[in-house]
Each structure stands twice: as structure tokens, then as C-alpha cells.
């Protein structure tokens, strides 16, 4: 099977039972998860970039979902990490309750891919049932199926 292109989003990991005190904590855990596909020092760089981005503008979009984002010039691939929490995480200055966290880590030269991914994601999340399906999914395989079916992320 052919290797996906560097600008095509790939699933870096799913964290069921995410337990975080706040948005920064959740981002750090997901960055650590993604660094499994990279190397150890990448986790720090990803969390630093995503937290810096979060401090510019809150990434909570309602429907119990947040879409933190890290843009790194040194990245050679577009990675997506998904965290699902049983209890709401207070997110951003407004402490919005978030249970689904989708962290994307994007190479600097992948603007078109990033905007395309965000567009598809936002359209998929318009469906009220999606959040419930993800949170109540029966195991990781069901979540992976959803990600592939809706966002072509494997």
C-alpha cells in the first residue's frame, strides 16, 4: 500500500479515558500520545506550540469539543490525535465543558491540507449525534471507522 503524502492527515493515536484538569493538561497528554509516532523531544515542541496557539485564541467550538492545533516547521507529516474524556474538561478562559479533544499537528507548508481538514471536521461535527457516537463508541475500532468514514483519516 502506498505511503500517504506528508500533507494527508494521519491518525497518531486515540486516548480513551482522557483525564485532564484543564486544556493545557489535555494538550500535553495528547502531545505525549502523538510523540509515539515521532520522538520524545517532539512531545515538548508539540505541546509548546499548541499551548501558544491556545493562548492566542480559544479552540473550543462548543458541542463539548475542542480543536487544539500545533503548527511546526520541522514536522514532515500531518498528525491527528483524538482524546475522549468521560468527564468534562474546563476549557479556555470561559471554562467551556469539553469531552472530545482533537489535536492536529501540521507541517508549515500544509495550509491547504489543514484548511481542508478543518472544513471537513467542522462539517462532520455539525451533526449533533457525532459527539454522542464518539463518546459512546464501542472500542477504538468504532472510533477509527468513524474517522476514516467521515475524515479519511487512517
Amino acid at each position: 500500500m502506498a505511503e500517504p503524502s506528508p500533507t494527508q492527515p494521519r491518525l497518531g493515536g486515540i486516548l480513551h479515558g482522557l483525564q485532564a484538569a484543564d486544556s493545557y493538561d489535555a494538550i500535553e497528554q495528547l502531545a505525549h500520545l502523538l510523540s509515539g509516532s515521532l520522538n520524545a523531544s517532539d512531545a515538548i515542541r508539540i505541546s509548546a506550540a499548541a499551548i501558544a496557539r491556545e493562548s492566542l485564541a480559544c479552540t473550543s467550538i462548543g458541542k463539548q469539543t475542542a480543536l487544539p492545533h500545533a503548527r511546526l516547521p520541522s514536522m514532515d507529516r500531518f498528525l491527528v490525535g483524538l482524546g475522549l474524556s468521560a468527564t468534562p474538561i474546563p476549557w479556555g478562559p470561559e471554562q467551556a465543558p469539553v469531552r472530545i479533544v482533537i489535536l492536529s499537528v501540521v507541517p508549515s507548508a500544509a495550509n491547504l491540507a489543514y484548511l481542508g481538514f478543518m472544513k471537513n471536521l467542522m462539517q462532520a461535527l455539525k451533526d449533533e449525534r457525532i459527539a454522542r457516537c464518539l463518546l459512546e463508541a464501542d472500542g477504538e475500532a468504532a472510533v477509527r471507522d468513524w474517522l476514516w468514514g467521515r475524515l479519511q483519516i487512517k
Binding site: 496557539r53 492566542l56 485564541a57 480559544c58 479552540t59 473550543s60 467550538i61 462548543g62 458541542k63 469539543t65 480543536l67 492545533h69 503548527r71 516547521p73 479556555g92 470561559e94 471554562q95 467551556a96 465543558p97 508549515s108 495550509n111 491547504l112 489543514y114 484548511l115 481542508g116 478543518m118 472544513k119 467542522m122 462539517q123 455539525k126
Partner: protein, 594 residues
């Protein structure tokens, strides 16, 4: 509690985004580069030039009606009906009033008026508005009172001051502002004479000193837009009508170059007379307003004898083409016109000398033809054709612009068969005048004036001297909605991304975001920092032109941001074409100095 996208969006957002989408779709079809933007502004200036012409025509109509009770454009016929004391009083009062207007301007308007040639050839395209408007008013009064000056002066002054104001309003770079003022001049001249090609070539050849397409293109667009506007409002007809044959005998082709040599010499006498007259009036121990009154008085006294002394001479030019004047009368009228124009010009009356110069050239050409025909009756020469060729030769020699002269006379009459005789006369006249003295009617305007960036040595010019003081920018945290709005509002292909303290951080290319600008879902979820290209190429404000040129050469970007070298704060921007225009102008001046 939810702060989701739907909750964050204000009720009118959907409608605004739909408008943005429509606007962006249209803009993406019509998107203009910097160069095309200059063409678009040139067209706008052309339309403004035509409207300025209409304003000047109507104002002079009104002022002439008030002064004489007669119809504008018929100076000679109206003055012929006036009593002697009126013929003296009206131009004298006009000169006096014009002088008082200038006195008022000198006392109460702080800025010094700048001639458009100075503003373009020597300055940075800035023409003070109030000083120029009072100068225009003075010229309108002088012209309407019958002084021997042309109305193209105030017309062009008004069109160029509007162009300069527009350039300042849009915060254009000096090179671009100069170009816009040059477009104003071309539009004004085109409207005054119904000669779009000659007007553009005149400004390119004489004022800019270059016929390169970079400068000629906008000038042509401005003068054509001006002519089309004026045609749509008032209709179009050649300014002078000539129906007769141009050449009836092959001998005429031999006589046209001879005429060229004659008018070439006459043009030098003409320039000398104008300057001597100015020197004489300047040496009088009276203030300027009194000098101007005296100049008007001279014109008035001459008008008692022959009313042809008044006005810009357009009426007499048509008379030459209708072959109304016998030899002796023409010689007298020529002398009279030279004295009247020298009196008006020398006393400081404002207005154009273009039409009076055409008349003198035409009269010399016609006189030459009548003299040759008198000595050699079988030569079968046309005085009207020689008058036109004389005008062209005189203009070529006195303005040092043969191309302009040939095109101008051709467009004034729209007679193609005149081109060959015109070319023969113009080239001979130009060569004769240049062999004796390489001086021009516009030398004074082009040899003095305000200091500007163009007067600095190349090595001393810094990017800060030529930058446009604005750059289209968004903040790092600006949402996608603001980015789309900025692209729509500023019609730019890239936006600079700055920090809260205005430091340059990156840029966003329209080409990278355009497919998504219609996505309402992205309006608040994506920010500028998510999609900017970091570390953009920029120009430190303290670098010189050679280094800037290197940076532009290495980059394919049309417009680059200018930053403070110490803090990297965004100060403005410079476009590739602004830089090239500046370098072309500096090279031209270097050649002139050599």
C-alpha cells in the same frame, strides 16, 4: 454552557459572509496587480481631468460673460464691439485682480504653489491644494479678461492637483504619485485640445523624459479616458478645421524643410522675447499685482488698434486655416500677438503659453508661404498647410519635442496627409533650434523646484524614502473572517501578519486560502497564526536601492514589507514597479546631468 461556533456568531454574520463570498468571487476574476492598479487609477484620473476641463470651461464662460457681456470663445468678436476704454479696462482689471489673488495667496496660504512639471520632473508628486487652487483662480481671471494666455494652464493645474490629492489620499509611494500627477497633466491637455495621443506623448517626452511603456501606458489610458468622457458629455470635433489641400505642388516638399529652419530660428527669438519681457517687468519697482495690471493694460492698448491682440489666439489660428489674412495684415498681427503675449507672460499673468506659441508658429508659417508665393507665384503653395506645418515646427523647436509636435498638429486637424509635411518641418526646426541652443519653453519649470527623493544621489536613497507608508496587515490572532474581509477590502494578493506591537511575523497568500474563503465554518476556528508563512522576505528601512534590488531579484514577490531594522516593526511596503520607476527616473536625471 457552550461557547461553540453557532453561539459565538452574531446574527448578521451569515449575510456578511455571503456578501464576502460574492465579492471575493468577483475580485478573483478581476484581481489587479500593482501595475494594473496604476492603469485603473490612470483611468480614474482621466475622467477627473475631463471633469476639471468642464469646470474650467464653464467658469471661464461665466467670468467672460461678467467681464464683457459676451460669449466665451469669441474674444476677438466681442472685444471688437466694445468701446476703446472697455478694451483697455477689462484686461487691466483682470491683470490687477489676478495679481491681488496671488497677493492674497502669498499672505494667507502657507504652502508655495508647485507647477505640475516641477512636481513630476523634480518633486515627489505633491502639489499643495490651496496654493494651486488660488493659482488656478488667478489664471482663470487672467484668461477671461482677455489677456493673451491659454486656458490649458489652469485646466492642467486643476487636473494635476486633483491627481496629486488622490495619490496622497491613497498614500501612494512617491514614484506612483508622480506618475498619477503626470496622468493628470495628460488628461488635462487631452481635454483642452482633444488630442489624446499627443497629450500622452507630450507628458512622456517633455515632463517624464521617457517613452517607455511603463510610463507611457498609464498616460495613454488617462488621456484616452479624458477624451472619451469629454466626448460623451460634450461631443468631439477637431479643434481646428482645415478642408483645403495640403500639397498641390511637389515643390512644397522642398519648402517645408526650409520653413522648418525658419521657424526653428523664430522659436529661439520667441523664447528670448518671453524671457526678456519677464526680466523687464521684474525689474520694475512696483509689486507683482501692479506689474500684472500693467501687463493687462499693454494688451488692452494693443486691442484698441487690433482686437486680435486679446485671448489665447485660437480664433486667429482658425483664421490662418481659413486663409483670411493678407501678407501685410498678417505681419502686423504677428508682431502684435508677440508683444501681447510677452506683456501678459512677462507681467506674471498665469495661464498657458501653448496656444499662443502655436499661433506664433502658425503665423510665421503662413507668412513664409505668402512671401514665397509673392516671389514665386507658380510654386502654388497653400498658406493654411504652411501655417499648420509652421505650428508643428515651432512647437518641435520651442518645446524640444518633435514627436509631440507632429502628433499634436495631426490630432488637432485629423488630417493624415499633413503628417509628412509636418515631419519634414518639425525635424528641420528641431535640428536648427538645437544646433543653436538646446533650450526649451519648459526649461525653467524643469530646472528648478523643490528638492525631493529624486534629487538625492543614488547612494543616499534609503528604502524608507520611497516606501508607501501603509501595508495591508492582520494581527496574529485575527480570525479567518477578518482575513477574508481584509482580502476583499484591500484587493491585495497577500496580507502581512503582525504581532500586537506591530512586529512583522509572517504573511498569508490569497492563493493558499482563496478556496476556503467561502467556508462559514472556518470563520472563527482558524486564525492568522494557523495559516501564515513565517519569516517572510522583508526590506529593512535603512538599506539602499542596490540591496533592495537584489532582494527583489531573489524574490518573486511584487510587493515587499518594509520593517524597522532594530525592532522589525512593520513600517510600510514597496512594490517592484515603484522601485523600477524610481531607478528609471534617477537614470534619466543622471543622463540629463551628464
Amino acid at each position: 454552557m457552550s461557547n461553540g461556533l453557532q453561539d459565538k456568531r452574531a446574527p448578521g454574520d451569515g449575510r456578511t459572509l455571503r456578501r464576502l463570498r460574492l465579492g471575493l468571487r468577483l475580485l478573483s476574476r478581476l484581481r489587479l496587480s500593482d501595475r494594473n492598479m496604476l492603469f485603473a487609477w490612470a483611468a480614474v484620473v482621466g475622467v477627473i481631468g475631463a471633469l476639471c476641463a468642464l469646470l474650467v470651461f464653464r467658469t471661464t464662460d461665466l467670468l467672460f460673460l461678467i467681464a464683457t457681456g459676451g460669449e466665451q470663445g469669441r474674444h476677438v468678436a466681442v472685444f471688437a464691439r466694445l468701446e476703446s476704454w472697455q478694451r483697455i479696462a477689462i484686461p487691466s482689471a483682470g491683470g490687477l485682480l489676478g495679481g491681488l489673488i496671488l497677493l492674497f495667496a502669498h499672505r494667507y496660504v502657507r504652502a508655495k504653489a508647485t507647477d505640475y512639471m516641477e512636481a513630476v520632473a523634480l518633486g515627489d508628486g505633491n502639489i499643495p491644494v490651496r496654493a494651486s487652487v488660488t493659482r488656478t483662480l488667478c489664471a482663470l481671471v487672467c484668461y477671461s479678461s482677455g489677456e493673451s494666455v491659454g486656458k490649458e494652464g489652469p485646466l492642467v493645474q486643476l487636473a494635476t492637483v486633483c491627481a496629486s490629492w488622490l495619490g496622497r489620499l491613497r498614500r501612494m509611494a512617491p514614484a506612483r504619485k508622480r506618475m498619477l500627477v503626470a496622468c493628470g497633466a495628460a488628461a488635462g491637455l487631452s481635454a483642452a485640445y482633444h488630442t489624446p495621443l499627443a497629450a500622452a506623448i507630450f507628458v512622456a517626452e517633455i515632463v517624464l523624459g521617457s517613452l517607455a511603456m511603463e510610463s507611457l501606458g498609464p498616460l495613454l489610458i488617462a488621456s484616452i479616458a479624458s477624451t472619451l468622457t469629454l466626448t460623451a458629455i460634450e461631443g468631439a470635433a477637431p479643434l481646428y478645421v482645415f478642408h483645403g489641400p495640403v500639397v498641390e505642388s511637389s515643390w512644397a516638399y522642398v519648402m517645408f524643410p526650409v520653413l522648418g529652419l525658419v521657424v526653428g530660428g523664430a522659436s529661439l527669438l520667441w523664447l528670448h522675447s518671453l524671457r526678456t519681457s519677464r526680466r523687464l517687468f521684474g525689474s520694475l519697482p512696483v509689486p507683482l499685482w501692479a506689474q500684472m495690471g500693467l501687463g493687462g493694460l499693454c494688451v488692452g492698448v494693443l486691442a484698441i488698434w487690433h482686437p486680435e491682440a486679446v485671448g489665447n489666439g485660437a480664433h486667429m489660428i482658425q483664421g490662418l486655416l481659413d486663409e483670411q489674412y493678407p501678407l501685410k495684415l498678417l505681419a502686423v498681427l504677428l508682431l502684435l500677438r508677440v508683444v501681447a503675449t510677452c506683456a501678459a507672460f512677462g507681467s506674471g499673468a498665469l495661464g498657458g503659453v501653448f496656444t499662443p506659441s502655436l499661433l506664433v508658429g502658425g503665423a510665421v508659417g503662413s507668412l513664409f508661404c505668402l512671401l514665397v508665393s509673392h516671389l514665386w507665384p507658380s510654386a502654388n503653395l497653400s498658406p493654411a498647410a504652411f501655417a499648420l506645418a509652421g505650428m508643428g515646427g515651432f512647437l518641435a523647436a520651442s518645446a524640444q519635442a518633435p514627436m509631440t509636435a507632429i502628433l499634436m498638429i495631426f490630432e488637432l486637424t485629423r488630417r493624415y496627409d499633413l503628417v509628412l509635411p509636418l515631419a519634414l518641418t518639425a525635424v528641420a526646426a528641431y535640428s536648427a533650434a538645437r544646433a543653436i541652443r538646446s533650450d526649451s519653453l519648459y526649461a525653467e519649470s524643469l530646472s528648478s523646484g523643490p528638492r525631493s527623493v529624486f534629487d538625492l544621489p543614488l547612494a543616499k536613497i534609503r528604502i524608507a524614502d520611497i516606501m508607501r507608508p501603509t501595508a495591508f496587515s492582520v494581527r496574529l490572532e485575527s480570525p479567518f473572517r477578518d482575513i477574508a474581509s481584509a482580502f476583499l477590502r484591500d484587493t491585495t494578493a497577500q496580507l502581512w501578519v503582525v504581532s500586537r506591537d506591530n512586529r512583522l511575523l509572517g504573511r498569508i497568500l490569497l492563493s493558499e486560502v482563496e478556496p476556503f474563503l467561502r467556508e462559514e465554518d472556518l470563520a472563527n476556528t482558524v486564525i492568522a497564526g494557523d495559516i501564515m508563512q513565517e519569516e517572510p522576505v522583508s526590506l529593512p528601512s535603512d538599506i539602499g536601492l542596490p540591496r533592495a534590488l537584489e532582494i527583489f531579484t531573489d524574490s518573486s514577490i511584487e510587493r515587499l514589507p518594509v520593517v524597522d531594522p532594530a525592532t522589525r516593526q512593520l513600517l510600510g511596503s514597496v512594490s517592484r514597479s515603484d522601485l523600477f520607476l524610481l531607478i528609471a527616473e534617477l537614470s534619466r536625471r543622471e543622463q540629463v546631468r551628464e
